[in-house]
């Protein structure tokens, strides 16, 4: 390989509704920590909790 591919890692936050279990994946925002209830669920009136914070790497 003459040109080395650059790897870009993006941080994501996975929220789950504590009532209906709906999962929402969005980009990580500073201040996000696991297990914190942060917003209202779009599908029901339940609260969403941060279940996972992880990075996904793509090669460019």
């Amino acid at each position: 390989m003459i040109f080395k591919k650059t790897k870009i890692t993006t941080a994501y936050t996975l929220e789950q509704c504590t009532k209906c279990g709906t999962l929402t994946k969005r980009k990580f925002r500073e201040g996000d920590v696991l297990f914190v209830e942060i917003s209202k669920c779009n599908s029901c009136d339940g609260a969403t909790r941060i279940e996972k914070i992880f990075g996904e790497t793509i090669e460019q």
């Binding site: 890692t9 941080a11 996975l14 920590v33 297990f35 996972k52 914070i53 990075g55």
Partner: protein, 360 residues
């Protein structure tokens, strides 16, 4: 077709042979030196970048009283003299004392930079400082070995350096890549143990059992579970051995289960989960020694679950594959409890690792 008796051809063949016989080592030294120089240049870049990141973090995020640069530079040059090991009796206590004294002193000094900073910010600065000083030390040692070999014109002296450099570079690159995750308080691969235990702790009462160490007591199928993890979401590993000691002094434990990240071997899949026996905890060895001593004196079996990952994965932002093992590890913990304890018994479950971004 060449003529073997041609004197010009003879010189063409003999000259390189003479050159390699008498100057072979110097040529090898020259070639190897170029490779090592490239590595040292990269290490120097890491050293400078990590220092700059640390200074910028302190200047931009904390209301520093005075200019922090001078103090930070002094912290970066701190060294630790390990105790004499000619008589190994009692060495673990001595090592633990020195390491903890250093941590306490650094914490106090960092706090003086901006007295109103929160404990979470303080743990971030401490971790960034640890990374920057490690990178500075690595650069200093490798550069010293290289310059010594060059000064002596000693090829054999440069060989061990050539051999260890790829491993050192892997560690240094991992440390350099870890800076953004610790700066923003994101969970790292090593945080999978605290993540599993932190989730088990949700909706239960927490107490501080030891310095930066959290405890929750819950019931599970007529068994009493003592859940221990470092106090998140700051960047710390806590003092699980002190916590365990306190629990054992007040309760009778029947099993200890430890969940930790473990370095994978080359060829092994990342984020694979394995079970085993013995204390799964890294670091300098003092925590492991203490946990083993407690388990031995109280005849408590230690079971472990490890999540395999590379050095880089362990200290950089947690990968999706590692995060996805949390449910599986959690169910393995419950299976382990059922398989190894009876109803009415007590189990300590320790989530080992850096708890950055992982509260309880």
């Amino acid at each position: 077709m060449g003529d073997d008796s041609n004197p010009l051809m003879m010189i063409v063949w003999i000259l390189p042979i003479i050159l390699f016989v008498f100057y072979g080592q110097q040529i090898q030294l020259f070639v190897t030196s170029r490779e090592i120089k490239k590595g040292i240049k990269k290490l120097d870049g890491f050293r400078v970048d990590s220092r700059t990141e640390l200074i910028n973090f302190v200047k931009n995020n904390l209301k520093a009283k005075d200019d922090p640069v001078k103090k930070i530079d002094r912290f970066l040059d701190y060294f630790t003299i390990m105790p004499v090991d000619m008589d190994p009796n009692g060495i673990v206590d001595k090592v633990q004392h020195i390491v903890r004294s250093r941590e306490d002193y650094t914490r106090e000094q960092v706090k003086l930079l901006a007295p109103q900073m929160s404990d979470i910010e303080l743990s971030k600065v401490q971790t960034l400082l640890e990374i920057a000083s490690s990178l500075q030390m690595i650069h200093k040692i490798i550069n010293h070995m290289f310059l010594t070999a060059k000064k002596q014109n000693n090829y054999p002296l440069i060989l061990p350096l050539q051999m260890i450099l790829p491993f050192i570079m892997e560690q240094a690159e991992a440390m350099n890549d870890a800076i953004p995750a610790f700066k923003t308080g994101q969970p790292v691969g090593d945080g999978i143990g605290p993540m599993v235990v932190g989730k088990m702790m949700l909706d239960s009462q927490k107490e501080t059992i030891a310095f930066q160490t959290s405890l929750s007591k819950i019931d599970f199928e007529d068994r009493k579970l003592f859940l221990i993890k470092a106090e998140g979401p700051g960047s710390t590993v806590g003092r699980p051995s002190d916590g365990l000691q306190k629990i054992v002094s007040e309760n009778k434990l029947d099993a200890i289960i430890m969940i930790d990240a473990a370095l994978k071997m080359e060829g092994e899949d990342s984020a694979s989960v394995a079970q085993g026996f013995g204390a799964a905890i890294g670091g300098i060895g003092t925590e492991r020694f203490q946990i083993e001593a407690i388990a031995t004196s109280n005849e408590i079996p230690i079971f472990s679950i490890v999540i395999k990952q590379s050095v880089k994965e362990a200290i950089t932002l947690m990968t999706k594959e590692i995060a996805d093992t949390a449910e599986d590890v959690s169910s393995q913990v419950y299976d382990m409890i059922r398989a190894n304890t009876k109803q009415g018994q007590s189990v300590a479950i320790i989530g080992v690792g850096n708890t950055a971004g992982v509260p309880q």
